[in-house]
Symmetry: C2
DNA sequence: CTTACTGTACCGTCTGGACGGTATTATCAA
DNA sequence: TTGATAATACCGTCCAGACGGTACAGTAAG
């Protein structure tokens, strides 16, 4: 009963992300998502009654997944590792993935710019938290912004850094973070 | 003969940027741009025969303006200042502006993701150039990425850094860049 | 009888852009 | 000088197609 529902839901969400990545943020139509997910349009609208709800689910899933991964990285990380270092390491892993996992964001803000607000507030909280946990403000600023830059380049599909350069960057950031 | 009326072109370009920033990337319609620019739709399509041409002009203007500003910053900058430092300083100034000067980018990639390619190749060239001019690769990587992060936050309208924190970040980056 | 869909048919709105005007200015012949 | 012609820079309307969303009848599983 629940398995089938959850399955469709996730298939649709994944399909939406795929369509956005492959055919561009402006081509994320309900028809395209439905056919990609192997679901009828009626079925899509049964799971997500409006396009906005679909986008919202994308945002919420993304945020909660990141949150969970961060919590895991903090506890399972190398002992003695600072929270900032854990954040760097986690974000670096995410940026390493070839698929820009979050390019649907462009579709979301094209649909309605307000979809950025939960993301922004999530980020703000995260930064404030790191600020409280990191003694060296300058190190935090440099590392946090550099990671943000990495995230941005991944999002835009930029590949101006070689894998080696990325590794050097991360190790440097980890040194700065102590 | 040409210049007098041709200020329509600039008015339209400015209007497009304004509309994109204020009403969101998904609401950048030709009608909206035309009325904002104080021009009829016919007049708009006279200056830019398709929406894609309008976007292209936005991209090209942006890139050439940045290029020019960079050249100027390099020659007019403090003597003995490294090219990387000049880049940092210039980008910091741009990021300081309250208006995210480039939020039309979202509209452009919604229209057609290929609009990113000229931007990406511009960035790649810039990075390669800085790489040739900067002895310390680690410093370049950290500074370049941090600046990219700043640009990204400005683009998304994120304001999690206070003005003071931004200043501290920039001065730290300039120190790293030597 | 409910849940979770499928499938089709349909509707209203929005949008890009084609098109046929129009007013102003430039070119040039008589 | 003048008058015709043509190019420029724009206006305003109209239309075809795409898209979000609705409605509804059917169905297979539990």
């Amino acid at each position: 009963m629940k398995a089938r529902r959850a399955n469709s839901r996730e298939k649709i969400l994944a399909a939406a992300a795929d369509v956005a990545r492959e055919t561009g943020p402006g081509s994320l139509s309900l028809d395209a998502v439905a056919s990609r997910a192997g679901v009828s349009k009626g079925g899509l609208l049964y799971n997500f009654p409006t396009k906005a709800k679909l986008m919202q689910a994308l945002v919420e899933d993304y945020l909660s997944a990141f949150q969970q991964a961060l919590e895991a990285a903090r506890t399972n990380g190398v002992s003695g590792e600072s929270p900032l270092a854990a954040y760097i390491r986690l974000s670096a892993e995410h940026a390493e993935e070839s698929k820009p996992s979050a390019s649907w964001i462009f579709s979301a803000i094209a649909e309605d710019p307000d979809f950025l607000t939960p993301i922004k507030s999530f980020r703000r909280q995260l930064f404030q938290r790191l600020k409280g946990e990191t003694p060296n403000l300058r190190a935090l600023l440099v590392c946090y912004l550099a990671i943000e830059g990495l995230r941005s380049m991944n999002l835009f599909g930029s590949d101006i850094l070689s894998a080696e350069e990325r590794r050097l960057l991360i190790s440097t950031l980890l040194e700065i973070a102590e």
